[in-house]
């Protein structure tokens, strides 16, 4: 089978984005382990790259996304610069949050990425509110809220999804079901199933293979077009698998022996997309080059971050508040 020119380019673009996300996280992980340059916890989305890639490619630049503690992929896919992100992970000047947030609070309002979040599920009500704001202001943007399977067991899931339904807001909730709540199997801690919860709240709900970027992107394109058209919230359940541990230093020994290896061999979205492109006649050398370029980009980002200075001490007191700020000597 040969790909049309459009499909070939789209397929390569998706692979390129997934390779960039993978390379960013692998580079950050080795910067943490080998060089101790990343000081805080980082949560890797290795194995989940297709969800960020497939959904976000259907958005406009002025659409909003909100992410989770596992948010590097979403942020890159929305268009943030790897340089500024890597500096943020290293806590350096020039980081997208000035070194104040690190991985768990990564945000780039310039591309309307309204923040990762250190509290599981907390972004769900906030995302519903961003959609509420769009509606009040008469905008035609939409919001995508990413969260994990574990977040569906927090109260804000019910409150936020209900809110979107009640006020009929232009938002897509994307549950990235990576099957684990930190070190606990989500199915062990979940009554019923998550997609049924969304259906019970009245949302049109679609279940998709979150590791097949091509079909996921097609599904997401239909859904986001419909949300933009109708202004009505929807829910997408994307089944995936977290190949890495909860944090970069988590060996994930709680998983059955061989599970991660088996899943990597059978479900890794990057491997699957490579196979699909090769089967369609794209030379594998071209795909290797693409992966190599992604790693080179992230190496450059790490080099730039490594040589960037720490933020100026006084910035610790800036951007707390205008009224009663710690920068005002009187307080």
């Amino acid at each position: 089978m040969s790909l049309s020119n459009f499909d070939r380019e789209a397929g390569l673009a998706r692979l390129r984005m997934m390779e960039r996300i993978r390379a960013f996280e692998e580079t950050a992980r080795s910067a943490a382990i080998d060089e101790e340059l990343v000081l805080g916890a980082i949560h890797l989305s290795i194995g989940q790259e297709a969800v960020a890639t497939g959904v976000i490619e259907t958005l406009r630049r002025d659409d909003y996304i909100l992410s989770t503690h596992r948010g590097h992929g979403h942020t890159l896919a929305k268009g943030a610069q790897a340089d500024a992100m890597m500096k943020e992970l290293l806590g350096r000047e020039g980081g997208c949050c000035g070194g104040k947030g690190g991985s768990m609070h990564i945000a780039d309002f310039g591309v309307r990425m309204l923040g990762a979040n250190g509290v599981v599920g907390a972004n769900i009500t906030i995302a519903a509110g961003a959609a509420h704001g769009i509606k009040l202001l008469g905008g035609d943007q939409i919001v995508v809220c990413f969260f994990g399977d574990g977040a569906s067991n927090r109260g804000p899931f019910l409150e936020g999804v209900n809110w979107a339904g009640v006020f009929n807001l232009p938002i897509l909730f994307v549950c990235e079901d990576n099957q684990y709540s930190a070190s606990t199997l989500t199915s062990d801690m979940t009554s019923g199933n998550i997609a049924d919860r969304a259906r019970a709240l009245g949302l049109r709900t679609t279940e998709a293979d979150g590791n097949d970027v091509t079909t996921l992107a097609a599904t997401a394109a239909e859904i986001t077009a419909r949300i933009r058209e109708t202004g009505t919230p929807e829910f997408l359940m994307a089944k995936t698998y977290r190949i890495s541990g909860h944090t970069y230093f988590d060996p994930a020994t709680y998983r059955p022996e061989g599970e991660a290896e088996r899943m990597q061999a059978t479900t890794c979205p990057i491997a699957r997309q490579r196979e699909a492109l090769v089967a369609a006649g794209v030379p594998s050398a071209e795909l290797d080059a693409l992966a190599k370029e992604a790693h080179a980009e992230m190496d450059r980002a790490l080099d730039a971050a490594r040589s960037a200075p720490w933020p100026a001490d006084e910035t610790a007191f800036a951007d707390v508040q205008d009224i009663g700020s710690p920068l005002q000597e009187a307080f």
Binding site: Y64, L66, G95, C96, C97, G98, G99, K100, G101, H105, A107, D108, F109, G110, L114, G115, N117, G118, V119, A122, I124, T125, I126, A127, A128, G129, A130, A131, H132, G133, I134, L136, L137, G155, P156, L158, E159, G160, N162, W163, V166, F167, A318, D319, V320, Q321, D322, I323, G324, P326, Q328, A330, F331
Partner: protein
């Protein structure tokens, strides 16, 4: 100048701000019917149900969604119904709203007014009566204010809506109906106390309804020849240290009174700050509720109240029991 109630003064400020700025909107339970204390009565008729928005009984979503809408470019006024219920939205306020601007390196703002009717009213028991203002003063990122008069509830609401920081706006439930003159041209800045009464013998510092109780106590003291100066802080973060220092330099005596539990109340902060800076003629004192719970039965409820006679007595004791 028009005379209006404490509730109506805030409502007027909200209505004026909503006329001036189409991005201002209110959200909370029952607002379409005027809100639980009728502090929104009539607003839905003028502004419609989108801008005077009802909400499900979902405090976390009311707070979180308003925050999201603030980041998307609106200026929400969030109604929490009772300050006690706002505890259901603590993560949203403390971990999200207060920290977003800083965590995101200044990329975002949360221009929000978070209204939390506080304090003892009548037989409302332990979950509808609390004064938790000191909790919020402990959270960097928040402005905290506690108006005590109709004028301040008008002027401070105007200032809170105009403010780009999140403002925890604590109105006292016992004074919704209290009336006073309101000058709509009078502006109040956060961090500026009101001198409610001048005096030279003892400084009484308070806020919210207890500031009014202090004025009453000062009248009693005046009959006994003790001239108490009453300072109503109005906002607790920031608070007007300069006004308090100036007064204590003059009187040499400091008594802070508040309705909240005395232990770790904001009175402790005021006393400590003054004691570190100003020599005094008498040991400073804070007067708050015992570290007990507020009951339903009126006589039990009264055990937790800080009254005018208690404040007057404490001031008198400071005058009489001076260290050598």
């Amino acid at each position: 100048m028009p005379v209006m109630s404490y509730a109506d003064a805030a409502k007027l400020a909200v209505a004026e701000a909503m006329r001036d700025d189409l991005t201002v909107w209110c959200v909370g339970e029952d607002l379409g019917r005027g809100g639980v204390f009728k502090q929104y009565t009539g607003l839905v008729e003028e502004f419609g149900p989108q801008r005077i928005s009802d909400a499900p009984i979902s405090e976390a979503a009311i707070m979180g969604a308003a925050f999201g809408a603030a980041m998307a470019g609106t200026r929400p006024i969030v109604e929490m119904r009772f300050a006690d219920f706002a505890l259901c939205a603590t993560d949203e306020l403390v971990n999200q709203i207060a920290k977003a601007r800083f965590m995101f390196g200044g990329q975002s703002r949360a221009p929000m007014v978070i209204r939390k009717p506080m304090g003892m009213w009548r037989s409302s028991a332990a979950q509808h009566s609390q004064s938790l203002e000191s909790w919020y003063t402990h959270i960097p990122g928040l402005v905290v204010c506690c108006p005590a008069t109709p004028q301040d509830n008008y002027s401070m609401m105007k200032a809170a809506i105009a403010c780009d920081d999140p403002v925890v706006y604590l109105e006292h439930k016992n004074i919704w109906a209290s009336e006073g003159e309101v000058d709509t041209n009078h502006a109040v800045d956060f961090g500026k106390a009101a001198l409610r009464r001048s005096g030279r013998h003892v400084t009484l510092v308070s806020w919210s309804h207890t500031a009014n109780v202090c004025v009453e106590a000062a009248e009693t003291l005046a009959h006994q020849g003790i001239e108490a100066e009453v300072i109503d802080l109005r906002s607790l973060w920031p608070w007007d240290k300069a006004a308090v220092f100036d007064s204590v330099r003059k009187t040499g005596r400091l008594l802070v009174a508040h309705e909240a539990v005395s232990v770790a109340g904001f009175g402790a902060e005021v006393v400590a700050t003054v004691a570190q800076n100003i020599p005094m003629k008498a040991l400073p004192k804070r007067l708050g509720s015992p570290r007990g719970l507020i009951a339903y039965a009126p006589n039990l409820e009264d055990q937790m109240r800080v009254t005018a006679p208690m404040i007057a007595k404490a001031a008198q004791d400071m005058m009489e029991n001076e260290p050598a």
